[in-house]
Symmetry: C2
Subunit: 353 residues, 2 copies
């Protein structure tokens, strides 16, 4: 440790992303990546890109991308903020709207980056236990919380909250900023983006990493009331004026515009998920009703860390969270049908051992 | 303003980047972009990129880029930190090593993002006046400052401090973290990168935006002692695990490896700068001895804002900083010979009016 690390740097416990491994050696189902390539329109943009353009700074506010998002969701361009992956967008939301004088509440089981942001920026937080069935009950959230954030569908449970329930919550808590992290929303849920024109206490965060197969390009965005977006823009311009590069702005816009390809890919993933869910249940696994691009499952009689290790030995990477009541569950990204057949076969072998 | 803006968001004054204008209408000499395209090796990487790779997350620590930087400067890979443009790298440096209990000092005339970072993260700062000739005198910097940061060559003056002087300062202030922002170092100065193995209180920050013509790809990096780099990595992993996208990692590495192209381009820019400097002086302008890819010049008898406006009317964008004793200077990016000929012609016309 350098003597120059400040108190915060000494004290932080960073987020740990899923292990990155060389392709081909493992079937990689541990970071919720899409098993299919991005739209061919993305490939066209990249192949036909004029490299001379790269000598110039990108559009500071990601105009092509912002426009594509605004058209897709029927919101105005100044209701959209784009950033370098939804992680950056989330970090800026925590820094723009919360501080040491405000409390943020989120489920005890959810995206594990939320408490990391709070500690990074010195924001007090409350972790509200999910119900025994892993559902969120908004009645449990204190009315004086300045912010409430949750993933919808939630991670790693895959369970979702209906937008009508979220709307009731928005109405009942006008002084709470509600942040809905919709990283996985495209795999079977309804987005809250349609509610931003009615509720100025709502921010919806999405990413192109999952449903658009663009994890490698780092594109995320927030949709919300004009003045929330303006706050994010002020903060961005105090941190890094040009967070999204020129290629990502153009390729991301192309991905959003190619609705047909998007539908095809997400439907394939949904079908594979539902089929695998059924097979898992018939094998005796406990499986949540995930609406995301992953399954959350427990193999009877086998501790989570042990199941993870056994699958790894069989060449399959999944994720396990060593945390209380979910420690015996595995989060298994939905891969191709072939990959999932190997997962099923491997779990059968592990159960038979 | 939203009621959800926190005190910080309400209070910040964001950095204002140079105006972005449509190409072709203006000769754009206001943001220190390189007038030449990036290396043809960059074009090859982009054209031959397998888009299917983009479905996967990038290497979290930017391995290909880190390797290229480490080989170029003869440092180890764990002495290199890469980020989404040097602005992000600088922001993370301020957040990792300084806080409300430490003071950071920098010149009163330098990159205007430094005070923005301080206000963003609540860091007390001192702006130390440059000497009358715009030089930095380290004797003016208080010995109890936790951090000292300056651009070398400095912006917008273009003047540089010799590495021997910096080395003496590093020796005399072992408890001060010295951050040397070398955004413009390739246009005629020596880097301090060779000193990091000897001084654990030194961080060198560079960018591919200027000398490698890659402003559009957002690539910056820091070189420093292993434990300073480890501190930055901890912070990065608490903010955004994957700040540099896959294409940028590969294209940036290609740009760094193509030393011949780099030499050719930077030499052209240096020659154009020196020639234009001479012409400006012969015309009666006051011009600093800039070692950067811009000239810093004052037209006799014409206020800076007025000179900027007159050049704009002639189709040329430059920058003027409405700040005290530099308010009559223009910062003019070194463009192609043709572009600079038009600048000379336009200034002659303005002076003749």
């Amino acid at each position: 440790m350098s003597r120059f690390w400040n108190a915060n740097t000494r004290g932080i416990t960073p987020y740990v992303p899923g292990e990155q491994q060389k392709e081909g050696i493992f079937i990689k189902l541990n970071t919720n990546e899409n098993p299919y390539p991005p739209s061919p329109k993305v490939a066209d943009i990249i192949r036909n890109m004029d490299p001379a353009l790269l000598r110039l700074y990108p559009k500071p506010d990601g105009d092509p991308l912002k426009k594509a998002v605004s058209e897709y969701y029927g919101v105005s361009e100044n209701e959209v903020f784009v950033g370098n992956g939804s992680d950056e967008v989330l970090a800026l939301i925590f820094k723009a709207f919360f501080d040491n004088s405000t409390t943020v509440a989120f489920p005890d089981i959810t995206y594990s980056f939320y408490p990391v942001y709070c500690r990074l920026f010195g924001i007090p937080y409350l972790q509200i236990p999910l119900k025994d069935d892993f559902s969120i009950d908004f009645a449990d959230y204190p009315s004086n919380a300045r912010g409430v954030i949750f993933a919808n569908p939630n991670a790693p449970t895959g369970l979702f909250v209906d937008t009508r329930v979220i709307e009731d919550f928005l109405k009942s808590r006008p002084d709470t900023l509600v942040v809905v992290d919709e990283a996985y929303v495209d795999f079977g849920c309804t987005s809250c983006a349609g509610l931003v024109s009615m509720y100025d206490n709502l921010l919806v965060v999405q990413t192109l990493s999952k449903s658009r197969s663009l994890a490698g390009l780092r594109i995320g965005y927030a949709i919300g009331n004009v003045s929330l977006i303006e706050g994010l823009k002020r903060l961005k311009d105090s941190f890094n004026s040009y967070p999204v590069d020129t290629i990502a702005q153009l390729a991301g816009a192309a991905a959003i515009k190619d609705k047909d390809y998007f539908e095809t890919v997400r439907n394939m993933i949904i079908e594979t998920r539902e089929r695998t869910k059924e097979i898992f249940r018939n094998m005796g696994l406990t499986v949540t009703d995930s609406k995301a691009n992953f399954l959350f499952a427990r193999i009877p009689g086998i501790p989570g860390h042990s199941a993870l290790e056994k699958l790894r030995q069989k060449g399959i990477l999944v994720r396990n969270f060593n945390a209380g009541r979910i420690s015996d569950y595995l989060r298994i990204t939905v891969g191709t049908d072939d990959e999932m057949a190997k997962v099923v076969e491997s779990i059968k072998a592990i159960m038979a051992e």
